[in-house]
Amino acid sequence: MNIATTIEQKLLSAFSPIHLDVVNESNQHNVPVGSESHFKVVIVSKNFEGERLIKRHRAINQVLANELSEHIHALALHTYTEKEWHDYYADSVPLSPKCLGGSKT
């Protein structure tokens, strides 16, 4: 199993997330093509309610301790409660630009 899938499965079972994105960002870094070294996780879970960021991150680091020590070089974490996720993204999902007619010319 690749690392991305392992991360995904471990987080799914530990946090029952409402939303989960695991993005392999290794291609943005100075590592061989196809590496699984740099990841970004966006996770929305009820478990984070009332928890400070450091506690949320520690909880994730603990679940992924093995991957962190063996495989992962960088792990960006963006952790939200349902409310934070809603407040954060409700008005800020970027809109795609309007059509300016270029497809017909």
């Binding site: 960021l53 450091i54 991150h57 520690r58 680091n61 301790a65 962190l68 020590s69 960088a74 792990l75 960006a76 974490l77 963006h78």
Partner: protein
Amino acid sequence: METIERIKEQIAENPILLYMKGSPKLPNCGFSAQASQALMSCGEKFAFVDILQNPDIRAELPAYADWPTFPQLWVEGELIGGCDIILEMFQQGELQTLIKETAEKTQTEENS
């Protein structure tokens, strides 16, 4: 001095301390760059340790801190977090408050 003793001493002696890769002026990692940039924007003096120049600290701090990655921001002996936490606190204005209050407190202590 043992590495762990040096770490404890650094954390105890520097109220605002960033462990990072490279220096704020010449960071060697994107995450360290963002973290030190946010910290510099707070406008207060802070200490930093370049862990690339201190491989022993790089090896031992994660276990001591119970935090696997760098950068790490320590304020008044407490781990605040890594790059994502620093940036999120900065965006919320919490980092500026924390850093300013810590700097003021330290100054008052030095003057008294």
